[in-house]
């Protein structure tokens, strides 16, 4: 089961950290704070919907460098940036790199909470999608290699007759393999099977 979401916040100022945590808990969110990018990176992240509230000005690694570092480590956590002064070029770069929001301190509490909610929803959706794809891949991997071959040809739009000719078997054999594969993939229809295979391959391409 998926656990409750967590908001991580990184800021070098202890007052800001504790006030952020206090504010987030008042709306029922679980929050965990860190004083630097490094201490956050050392944390083993739980498999729950989460987001990162990050000050642009950090000692050591800057917020933007940190954003790049996370991408490099394939840690796909949505980020809400906080900044001491509205720096437009910096915010543009952050947003382009996939930041959820870029808030200028001091910010309206509702703006932060909205951004955090958007970030958590996005992360939740991503996780659900990933979970689904993982399940589909597990099913696909349970097929025999001949069944996998038949499925890829079916998805490519080939008729049973054509597949049999290609594989050098009887059409009836292809039919049996195809229905067995549908069953293992838990696909109700050909359309559903196609969508499933697309999900697996699109994620494969994306990663």
């Amino acid at each position: 089961m998926i656990g409750p979401p967590i908001v991580f916040a990184v800021d070098d100022d202890p007052s800001v950290r504790s006030s952020l945590k206090f504010l987030l808990t008042t709306v029922g969110l679980q929050a965990e704070t860190f004083d630097s990018a490094d201490s956050f990176l050392r944390k083993k992240l739980p498999d729950v919907p989460s987001c990162l509230v990050l000050d642009v000005r950090l000692p050591g690694l800057s917020g933007l460098d940190f954003q790049r570092e996370l991408a490099a480590r394939n840690i796909r956590i949505p980020i809400v940036f906080l900044t001491g002064h509205g720096d437009i070029p910096m915010s543009v770069r952050a947003m382009k790199a996939g930041a959820i929001e870029f808030l200028t301190k001091p910010f309206r509490d509702q703006d932060l909470l909205n951004a955090v909610r958007v970030a958590l929803d996005q992360d939740r959706a991503r996780r659900e999608q990933e979970r689904e794809v993982a399940e589909l891949r597990r099913r696909f991997n349970s097929l025999t290699s001949r069944e996998q071959e038949v499925v890829s040809m079916v998805v490519a739009g080939m008729l049973n007759k054509q597949i049999a000719a290609q594989l050098g078997t009887a059409e009836s054999t292809v039919k049996v393999q195809r229905s067995r594969a549908m069953e293992k993939m838990q696909a109700e229809s050909l359309a559903e099977l196609i969508i499933m295979i697309q999900k697996i391959s699109s994620l494969r391409k994306a990663s």
Binding site: D13, S15, S19, L23, R57
Partner: protein
């Protein structure tokens, strides 16, 4: 020991006086000449000999002494005859010399040519001392150094001869045996031959002189030849080294010779040169012809011209900047040589230097401007960050409390902690502001007595590039003999630069009137120094009142700190800074500074 083996080298040549032997009187027998039986004069023989002598004098003056010696021998029928000449260094004739030299001897003593005797201790010296003919008998008895000169002289008749009244030498006849004795006739003949000796001597001197002149001339010519050879080699090396372009040609435009450096410069090849296609008149762009004509005029007048910079066309029509200098060949009014130096690199370097200087200057001005802005900008950013952190915490905590209150979640302990944090963060924010204020106050001013006009000029130089770039005309109305002000130079510059930059920026958008910036200095009615910076810009409009409010700005890149800081700087000097509208357009900024020492100097 034979006579032939007695070489001149064996004869002592010392100038010092050797040990004297017999007395002078004991070796002289001059008076006997008159007592001896007279030999009849043989005039025919004498005349014949004299004619021979005269023609020898005319034909072969270099051997005249030898001829003279032979003549003496022939006429007097003696065994040896010769000449002694007074010399400076043993050879060069000189009436004041210290030695007699024997340039020519006929007869048995001939091998002794080149020998001689000291001036002050010898028979010739005695003759000159007594200034008359003397007859010696065995003079080696008194002058022992003559002993090795063999065969020994039985008798020696010595006659002085003169040039311009001065005795310069003797002629002599010697008998080595008593086969014959000299008599009065010999005395007469010798005396007359002495006159020939005189002319011979003179002609010899003349010849020697000529010889000397000839040899000197030859030496000089050799030196010139050597110099020319050296020079030629040097020129050849210079031409071949191709360090500079060398061309030879004529005034009409032909180039007959050129080295590779020159050809490379104008990108022609040897073939072009050989064909006569390369003419300096064609290489010269039209606008340089006038300058060339001046150079040609100089060449004609003085044979050379001062090097000058010009351009040549390359073969492809592009231009190469060069330095040209040249001269005409001596003795030839039309041909000459010139050197050509490629100035491309130099020009490029010069341009780069100028560019670099311009860039440096621009950078300096820009730096002054930017540092003025960034110092304030950074200060503002740092203030923002320092104050933002506690403000963020306060806002977060207060918002959280409001949410808890709205939810009627009244955990007193939680609220108390939150409010404590709010108070702590608010205190922290005010502490930050107090720290900044203290920091600003602390910046020490270094005040000195300054001439305001000098500071104005400095700042105008500093802003010069910006003024030039924006095509702004500066009108200075500076009152001379203003009293000095006590101020921090840098701060004063900062105020002036700020006002001038504001004026420049205020005029950038104006297109319908000239961009003029007036800078004035004068004394005001209370005796303070008053400075005005006025512009023809867009003016102040309704914003006059807010000009000096911190962070108020009408400019896209402004901080809104320039005027407030300028005002606080002027006020820290005891002066005032204010703004008015300028008539008919633009804005005027005024500031006063009290005079150093409190009263006008």
């Amino acid at each position: 020991m034979s006579s032939a083996s007695t070489s001149p080298a064996n004869i002592p040549l010392k100038d010092s006086i050797p040990e004297a032997g017999a007395s002078l009187e004991s070796i002289l027998c001059t008076e006997e000449l008159q007592r001896r039986p007279l030999r009849p004069p043989d005039y025919e023989k004498e005349n014949c000999a004299l004619v021979k002598l005269v023609s020898a004098l005319a034909d072969s003056p270099s051997t005249i002494f030898q001829t003279l010696a032979e003549t003496i021998q022939a006429i007097t029928q003696c065994d040896s005859a010769g000449l002694s000449l007074l010399t400076r260094d043993g050879k060069t004739p000189d009436a004041c010399g210290k030695r007699f030299y024997w340039p020519a001897i006929a007869g048995m003593w001939n091998p002794h040519v080149g020998g001689g005797t000291p001036r002050n201790f010898g028979p010739c010296g005695d003759v000159l001392d007594q200034n008359r003919t003397l007859l010696f008998r065995h003079f080696e008895r008194r002058y022992p150094y003559l002993m090795p000169v063999i065969p020994a002289a039985e008798e020696c008749l010595l006659v002085p001869f003169y040039v311009a009244g001065q005795a310069v030498g003797t002629i002599w006849a010697i008998m080595h045996s008593d086969r014959r004795k000299f008599d009065a006739e010999d005395d007469r003949v010798m005396a007359s031959l002495g006159k020939f000796a005189s002319s011979a001597y003179q002609s010899l001197i003349h010849i020697e002189d000529l010889k000397f002149q000839v040899s000197e001339r030859e030496k000089a010519e050799a030196e010139v030849r050597e110099l020319a050879r050296g020079l030629e080699a040097k020129i050849r090396r210079l031409v071949a080294a191709n360090v500079v372009g060398i061309v030879m040609g004529n005034l009409e435009g032909a180039i007959t010779e050129a080295n590779d450096a020159f050809l490379h410069m104008v990108q022609y090849d040897r073939e072009d040169l050989a064909s006569g296609r390369v003419r300096w008149t064609d290489l010269t762009p039209a606008e340089w012809r006038g300058r060339d004509e001046r150079a040609i005029a100089d060449l004609k007048a003085r044979g050379s011209f001062q090097p000058f910079e010009k351009e040549y066309f390359r073969k492809d029509g592009s231009r190469v900047p060069i330095l040209l200098g040249g001269a005409l060949f001596e003795g030839n009014g039309n041909e000459g040589a010139a050197f050509v130096i490629d100035l491309t690199e130099q020009k490029r370097a010069q341009e780069m230097l100028q560019e670099a200087q311009q860039t440096l200057y621009t950078t300096q001005v820009e730096l002054a401007r930017v540092s003025r802005l960034t110092t304030m900008g950074e200060l503002a950013a740092s203030i923002a960050h320092e104050v933002n952190q506690p403000l963020t915490a306060v806002t977060n905590n207060a918002n959280a409390c409001l949410r808890l209150l709205a939810d009627r979640h009244l955990d007193h302990e939680v609220l108390r902690r939150a409010f404590e944090e709010i108070v702590a963060d608010a205190t922290r924010a005010s502490a930050v502001i107090a720290r900044i204020r203290a920091f600003i106050k602390k910046a020490p001013a270094e005040k000195s007595e300054l001439d305001i006009n000098e500071v104005i000029q400095q700042v105008l130089v500093l802003a010069g590039h910006e003024l030039q770039k924006k095509r702004i005309l500066v009108e200075c109305q500076l009152t001379k003999t203003l009293p000095l002000v006590l101020a921090d130079r840098v701060q004063l510059q900062q105020v002036l630069l700020n006002l001038i930059m504001n004026g420049i920026e205020a005029m950038t958008a104006v297109t319908d009137r000239p961009h003029v910036l007036w800078v004035q200095s004068q004394a005001d009615e209370s005796g303070d120094v008053l400075v005005a910076v006025r512009d023809a810009g867009i003016g102040l409009g309704s914003e006059v009142d807010r000009l000096f409010t911190p962070f108020f700005t009408t400019k896209a890149s402004g901080t809104g700190m320039g005027l407030p800081i300028s005002r606080s700087l002027v006020e820290s000097h005891g002066g005032r800074l204010w703004a008015t509208a300028n008539s008919p357009h633009g804005a005027a900024f005024w500031f006063t500074l009290p005079v150093a020492g409190g009263s006008p100097s």
